[in-house]
Amino acid sequence: MTGALLGLLVAAADPCTAPIPPGGGDPHEAQIYVQVGDAERARGNVGAAREAYRAALARDPRSADARRGLAAACAPEADPVQAGADALEAGDPEDALRALANARGRGNDRPVDLLEGIARYQLGQDTLAIPLLESARGDPATAESASFFLGLIALRRGDGDRASRLFDQAGRAIGLEDAARQLTRMAQQEGHLVLSALTELVYDTNVALRPDGAPTTLPGPDGSVGLTLQGLVRPWGTPGPYLRVEGQLSKQLTLSQLDLLGGAVALGFRLPGPTGSLTGEYAYNYQALDGRGYLADHRVFLGGSLLTGRFLWGAAYAAHFETYRWEALSDQSGVRQVLELDAGLLPGGGVRLTAGYAGTWDATRVDPLSYLEHGPIVELVWSSGPLTVGTRGAIAWRGYLAPDPNYADTSYTTREDTRYLATTWVDVGLGARWSVRGTVRFLRVSSNVPDLNATEWVFIGSVAWTGAVL
């Protein structure tokens, strides 16, 4: 009974199904109502059109035009704007453009401009997207979202200043606030000349990775303070070539023989696309320990990522051509190649879960020091507003190529290690340029040569500043 009453109430409220009381008003005016209904329907105001057709039918129940108009206004027509939004949500911008092709001229076109602008942005058609998004900025209802995507385009073009301003505007919208804040930080890192400085305070329980059973006279725990300065020059923005110059200083609190002074120069090219990016880089890195040249490293790097729906696929390869400058370490010189493949799941809520597999092939001058290492990696990162929390775990099985004569007195012929690595960090952004981070790292080496088992904990607190100067 209640259901039937509810059904009647719903029907009475629905202009498509509610009965039309006959004889209301002047029958000669029915055609005017039909004309008004047609005009409102053409403008996309279906609600007013239904009212007009009903008023026409009340005056002239036999009006075929009114009946036909009401049927058309009540037909479950697919809303092209909603269809476009649905297609974008499903990650199909081309389908969205097809749906939106017939969405204009039904009243306010700004939401259509916004959706088409987003679709064009996703397809990499920035030149077409910009005027559409600028138009959408003219409507308060769509202004913040439009600013957000204009900011992304500016970011893609390497115009960090404009991106930063646009993200500030986008940040006024509830729901965009967190993303806009994070992107404002990113935008501050875009620009033609970006400088950054990182200071850190480190406590390491096992600086030289001393084996568990080693005599305590070997270097053990120590603290250090570090400073890293970096300059990044992108003359033509992104995409385009870049030059990175980096200097690093680390001063141990007690073990001065491990004081590090380093510098690096890198030349690269970053090619961002609508759903991914590709980076190629050559770098030269030189390090000195205790004031003496220690390691020279020529590095070639190629990495890329691709976003498909909720999955982010990544690949990175690096080849290090390393030369150890100390005579005692010269046998470790050689070519070290690293390959990592991973897949990230983006379930929403600022969470990214990544699983991958990494391998290292270190071909040194002598086989006993050459090794092949491989193993899985898992990483979980959660970002919310200025806060990012992450944890990463990895297992690496390392097998050396030949017996090490240093351990010839043991029953083992060839050294085999299992390395367990875990890192967790908390990063807090303080405005667009400053951030503080706390990191804890753990490494456990478990070897078939028990004397080489080792454990290391590292605690790092750091403060970083990054900003676009030009």
Partner: protein
């Protein structure tokens, strides 16, 4: 002055001797407006308009604003003005200013709020003054030239299909250009507004 108070309008019209056929629809529209049944109100005002009421065009424009169709409301106010030069009503000017404001036509909004303020009573005038102050604060110099470009783009795109709305955009661009330090695209905006406001173009749509 004839403030747009739908209830009063309904009473006055209902009490009057039988008038033109549009009046019954004006009353029905005013009743619906008062009941916040804006779609029904729009239909009744449109019918009254079709039956020859110039006044109904202004009410239809105000109803479009209530329906959240700001640009259509701006366009409808422009067309209503062409049918009958003045609203003659401070409250309708407030609605028109609100329509301009919602369509981001800030100088248009300021113009209508200023006109309404000069005739408004002691309760409405301070609110209008506050709105005008907010508009003045919102008009930041660095945003003027991009806004001129945006409005001229819109005016150019709409000049054939919706010349009345295009005129509103062109007039806003021309007004903003006078505040631009370099008179950014002022000649272009003024010429376009002049062409769209000419009697030949006025006949379109």
């Amino acid at each position: 002055m004839n403030p747009f108070r739908p209830a009063m309008l309904a009473l006055l019209l209902a009490a009057a001797p039988a008038g033109p056929p549009s009046e019954a629809h004006l009353v029905a529209g005013a009743d619906a407006f008062r009941s916040e049944a804006y779609e029904k109100a729009l239909v009744e005002f449109r019918v009254a308009e079709a039956l020859g009421s110039a006044e109904a065009s202004w009410y239809a424009a105000a109803t479009l604003l209530k329906l959240g169709r700001a640009e259509e409301a701006v366009e409808a106010f422009t067309l209503a003005e062409r049918r009958r030069a003045a609203a003659g009503d401070a409250l309708l000017e407030v609605y028109r200013g609100q329509a301009c404001y919602a369509a981001q036509l800030l100088l248009c909004a300021d113009r209508w709020f200023a006109s309404a303020e000069s005739r408004a009573g002691p309760r409405l005038a301070p609110q209008l003054r506050a709105l005008r102050n907010a508009i003045r604060d919102a008009l930041r110099p660095e945003q003027i030239e991009p806004a001129i470009d945006r409005f001229l783009d819109r005016a150019s795109a709409l000049q054939r299909s919706r010349p009345a709305l295009a005129l509103a955009f062109a007039e806003e661009a021309a007004a903003l250009a006078t505040r631009s330090s370099g008179r950014h695209r002022q000649d272009e905006a003024t010429a376009l507004a002049g062409r769209l406001g000419s009697p030949v173009t006025k006949g379109a749509r």
